[in-house]
């Protein structure tokens, strides 16, 4: 890569400028291309793929500013430098606002041109390195998920499987004490698997959701709420907590991925249960307001202190005042927020220490009349 010559493109309607610039750079590690107007210049941007482009702001035909815009929409990593014949500060400032890296007032000396070219190329290198690093980080993130999944989950899963089978084969021989030790092992390993699963969710949620978006479909809010309630019911019963559900009817559907949205609701409900006292109530409401579906989960539990509120949707926040010994991974709300935002919605909270918390998920409502034939819509809803 170090051997490769840098590519410089100069777009200017004055032939003398093009000639002298080419001459100045001659003999250096550069490929130089020139264009007399914006249209041809933009063609060259695509063909020649320059590292640095000099653009004269004042040209017949397409204006310099427009050329700048189009260069950036083609490849935002190309470094653009404007040449201003009428060196007014305002046009230079505007060019920089539009994404130009620097400006070169006419007339300029060969040295000035060489220096600004070199700086432009350094800039280009930096931009490319940043882009490459960012891409690498994304890949690492995705691969990390796969690695954790295979290298960590598989062996632990295999250990669990063998515990299952040992217990099964030895069921007639094990003493009560031995059985209970196996039970405890199974339960610890299960917690470990759950934890890995949750971490994986955080790492992959963003990438996952992007992929899931391709298969978004109309979803019934009522059905998602009842699925979520179903999955937390045992937990609620264990703490003698009453889940009071009240839904406005009818509710418009929302557009999204059912599995992740139900997961978001389950997260809010499990939190509400976790931070509620034995025998209390949790209220789940859904209504439509200004073309949004509002789903509210309210508890009368321990609440969240004002200092903590700004952090609860971040990674690894764990409420400190859980009335029992339950402890979470601190990732539930972070995942929930990611899921809701990926659906074009928002999540907010209102809480007072000792009084309880109210979480509200807002999702854009779907206008059923505009989509598909009603019959088909109903079919989709019934399935989901």
């Amino acid at each position: 890569m170090g051997e490769a010559k840098s590519k410089i493109l100069i777009i200017d309607d004055e032939e003398v400028v093009l000639d002298s610039c080419t001459q100045i750079l001659e003999g250096g590690p550069y490929h130089v291309a020139t264009a007399m107007d914006g249209t041809f210049g933009l063609e060259l941007v695509q063909e020649f793929q320059p590292d640095v482009v000099f653009v004269d702001l004042k040209m017949p035909g397409i204006q310099g500013f427009e050329v700048l815009d189009r260069i950036h929409s083609f490849d935002p990593t190309i470094v653009a430098i404007v040449i201003t014949g009428y060196a007014t500060v305002s046009s230079a400032v505007e060019a920089i606002k539009k994404g130009a890296y620097d400006f070169l007032p006419k007339p300029f000396t060969p040295d000035e041109f060489r220096v600004i070219t070199r700086r432009g190329l350094e800039r280009r290198k930096l931009v490319q390195e940043t882009t490459a690093l960012r891409r690498e980080r994304e890949m690492l993130r995705e691969h990390f998920a796969a690695i954790v999944s295979h290298e960590l989950k598989s062996p632990i899963g295999a250990v669990q499987q063998n515990l299952f089978s040992l217990e099964y084969e030895l069921s007639d021989l094990l003493t009560e004490d031995q059985s209970s030790r196996i039970e405890r092992m199974k339960s610890s390993i299960n917690d470990l698997l759950e934890l890995i699963r949750t971490w994986l969710r955080v790492i992959t949620t963003d990438a996952d959701i992007k992929k899931l978006r391709e298969s978004f479909q109309p979803l019934s809010v009522e059905s998602m709420i009842s699925k979520a309630v179903e999955s937390v019911e045992t937990h609620a019963n264990r703490k003698d907590i009453d889940l009071v559900v009240s839904l406005e009817s009818p509710l418009k559907p929302v557009y999204g991925d059912e599995i992740t949205l139900v997961e978001a609701l389950v997260n809010l409900m499990s939190n509400a249960i976790k931070y509620s006292r034995m025998g209390s109530q949790i209220f789940v409401n859904a209504e439509e307001k200004e073309n949004e579906i509002l789903i509210t989960v309210a508890d009368r539990g321990v609440g969240i202190s004002e200092e903590d509120l700004p952090f609860i949707f971040g990674d690894f926040y764990v409420g400190e005042l859980s009335p029992d010994t339950e402890r979470g991974s601190g990732l539930g709300l972070a995942i929930t927020r990611r899921i809701v935002e990926a659906h074009g919605g928002s999540i907010s909270v209102d809480s007072a220490l000792g009084k309880g918390s109210t979480f509200v998920i807002r999702l854009p409502a779907m206008n059923t009349e505009r989509h598909n034939e009603p019959a088909q819509d109903e079919g989709v809803l019934a399935n989901s």
Partner: protein
């Protein structure tokens, strides 16, 4: 019920395989194992089984899926019930957009997640074999 029934397990994780193999053998099944997709498919083609237990993530990727697809095209293997046992329910979501939880690889299949409880495993295995036999009886 399990007497004389022949099962094949295709999974590249020998430790996991041991954990289900002993459950199935204790329950009276005759079980063979293959630890890579190629041996697995060779066994499927050359011998007769009542059910296949299939892992998804093997080798360089979702090679279990390749086996399932090949089976669907094979007139002889198409009817064989398949129990997919996998640790990757989440990842399946983006392998098969639109069918996140239960991808129908072959006509008669079912998916359980690793690790799997003995009673549940045995129940699914016997139910799938029975369903396949009923289908055959009906012709």
């Amino acid at each position: 019920m399990s007497k004389g029934k022949r099962l094949l397990i295709i999974d590249d994780d020998p430790d996991f395989v041991e954990g289900i193999l002993s459950i199935l053998e204790t329950a009276g099944y005759e079980v063979e194992t293959a630890y890579n997709p190629k041996d697995g498919f060779d066994a499927l083609e050359s011998k007769q089984y009542d059910l296949l237990l299939l892992d998804i993530m093997m080798g360089r990727g979702a090679e279990g899926v390749m086996i399932a697809r090949k089976m669907r095209k094979d007139p002889k293997l198409r009817e064989m019930p398949v129990l997919i046992i996998t640790g990757i329910r989440e990842q399946i979501a983006y392998l098969f957009p639109g069918q996140p939880m239960h991808p129908h690889f072959v006509e008669v299949d079912e998916l359980v997640e690793k690790p799997v409880e003995p009673d549940f495993l045995l129940e699914r295995v016997s139910a799938l074999i029975k369903a396949a036999e009923d289908r055959k009886a009906k012709g």
